[in-house]
Symmetry: C2
Subunit: 332 residues, 2 copies
DNA sequence: CTGAAAGCGCTTACAG
DNA sequence: CTGAAAGCGCTTACAG
């Protein structure tokens, strides 16, 4: 910038004004500055600018996801990016892999980079450590999962009701032995979906059987193995409810392997590409991860615009999609 | 930092040394500083630090993708993130949506944020504009597609050979009318895959027929519609080669809709989740997007470490996976 | 409308 | 080992 000022023969103040698009600059001086900028290939240093600016904003937000490559996270990411883009804001995304330590490290690393705010799919079981940062003025919005030990804005899917609807569909057509395959039970959504499962069983006066309830399945491989042993039991379930997208894939593979896909009913939580193409079509509880991301971003930007209102929890409804696998009746 | 120095009753220099983990500080003073840091909830300002540091590094790189929510991009993203994570580097990712203007805007926006380097899946057809930035010291590595009008490092898949192998599989079992459905022809990979298609036809002494060659299909919907009209022609192809993951999905849907999935052969470029579960299984040319990301990141970090060697182009091999759809013979 | 000066939060030679 | 001072690239009152 100093060089630009020298070449254009104006003061630093004037260069700053021109570069920031102020209108109160003599057109001729502005022109000289623009020429110098072009000639020198000058690139504004936004970080230095933020350091001195009164608002101090970096026009960058942090987005902490479970895994940027998971379709659920990726869709949420894109929705946040689109909302941020409208305001010229960039997003620093990172994967936590359900690791609470990484959550804290990344928050700290992004706070050091002075992001304006955060959208977090939390991995840890206690977010109270964020209180200090929030007091310092950084807003946090939680997506997909509520924060724990911290009151904050959050946007979540209607996990419990969605799971209950799925399982109610199964009990509705006569199933009474419904296996549950769930993600890591430390994850709030996994707990909620399990609660929905229990709720639907209760409504149908079915006592849950721990033998066909499997938690803590975090990969498609683990889920496939678990489903295989479950389906090979003498008192195997007549229907499966899988509580997460990778778990659902494992369930599909296991059914396929045992050639049971047309005998055993199956409903998954979260939709899958090609779910309508496989046979039978996979019935699912679809959640709108794009909408979750969009609302979370909207909420964050409202906070950044000065909204001081009480914390809010938005619940995004899920939708049951019947495609065949969830409509297979129990053997009579 | 000033407050920390005051509370610990030491100079700013000392606080800086402690915060940066220098060893030449009296343990007692260091202890006082640490206490003050904890008490005040002090958070280091990494941007201000970079401004003054001799290396000036922000420990952040830019990653420009086609679309963070596309599985190909998302997998590449994750591989880059993992490589960056090892070095404590964060990644600022963004979606270009094949828009050359966005490419330039985002580069400029991230240069203003002083990222240390870039990994780019270019959207535009001319990257010569990056010469200025590179002279200023920012390294660029291209992934998935080579840069144009600029010599630079790049990591690409073996698109031409992969496509040729796929089509050769089809000609090998007797197909002579093979439809081509491709992505936007402005994209280098689409051109390469088409070249591979022509090459394989040539090897089988088949003259290409423009009537069954369709370019510029960029969404699953567009591809489905195109495939439908293609398959309903009187001289419809007996096999389909789809040159991109969304295009492949469109092809699958069209075949399904016409109940031709067991009659018309189909090979797709890029693998799909559940491709082995649908019936018939989808034969594909799989490309390793994770490996592309990993190598691109490795290359970028070597440059950041001072590698001044000549620019290199790494080619990642593709792999043909036979699953059934590509092995359907032509009607006799 | 324009410029000189102070200062954002930090690091780094330079003396001591 | 420690501190005072200069300065990274910028913005912003403050005079003129």
């Amino acid at each position: 910038m100093r060089e630009v000022a020298a070449l254009a023969d104006v003061s630093l103040s004037t260069v700053s004004r021109v570069v920031n698009g102020w209108s109160n600059v003599d057109p001729e001086l502005a022109e000289r500055v623009h020429r110098a900028v072009g000639l020198l290939g000058y690139q504004h240093n936004f970080a230095a600018s933020a350091l001195r600016r009164t608002d101090g904003k970096t026009a960058t937000i942090g987005l902490l996801l479970e895994d940027v490559s998971n379709p659920f996270s990726a869709t949420l990411h894109r929705a946040v990016e689109d909302a941020a883009e409208e305001r010229g804001v960039r997003v620093l995304a990172a994967s936590l892999d359900e690791n609470p330590e990484r959550e804290r490290e990344l928050v700290s690393s992004l706070v050091a980079r002075r992001v304006d705010g955060f959208i977090i799919v939390p991995a840890g079981e206690d977010q109270s450590y964020l209180l200090v940062e929030r007091r310092a003025g950084t807003p946090f919005v939680f997506a997909d999962r509520p924060p724990r030990h911290l009151a904050a804005d959050s946007v979540v899917a209607d996990n419990r009701a969605g799971a209950a609807a799925a399982v109610a569909q199964l009990t509705g057509i006569g199933h009474r032995r419904i296996g549950f395959l769930g993600d890591l039970f430390s994850i709030p959504t996994a707990q909620e979906r399990f609660a929905g499962y229990l709720e639907a069983l209760g409504s149908a006066a079915i006592a849950p059987d721990d033998a066909i309830i499997l938690h803590d399945l975090h990969t498609a491989e683990a889920a496939e193995a678990a489903a295989l042993t479950l389906l090979e039991r003498p008192d195997a379930p007549t229907a499966l409810f899988t509580g997460q997208n990778l778990v659902t894939i494992g369930g599909i593979r296991a059914l396929r392997q045992l050639a049971l896909e047309h005998q055993v009913a199956h409903v998954g939580f979260d939709d899958l590409v090609l779910a309508d193409i496989i046979q039978p079509g996979l019935s699912v509880v679809a959640q709108d991860s794009g909408e979750i991301g969009r609302l979370a971003a909207e909420c964050l930007f409202r906070r950044l615009d000065g909204d001081k209102g009480p914390h809010r929890t938005l619940v995004v409804p899920t939708r049951f999609i019947a495609r065949g696998s969830g409509e297979i009746p129990p053997p009579r």
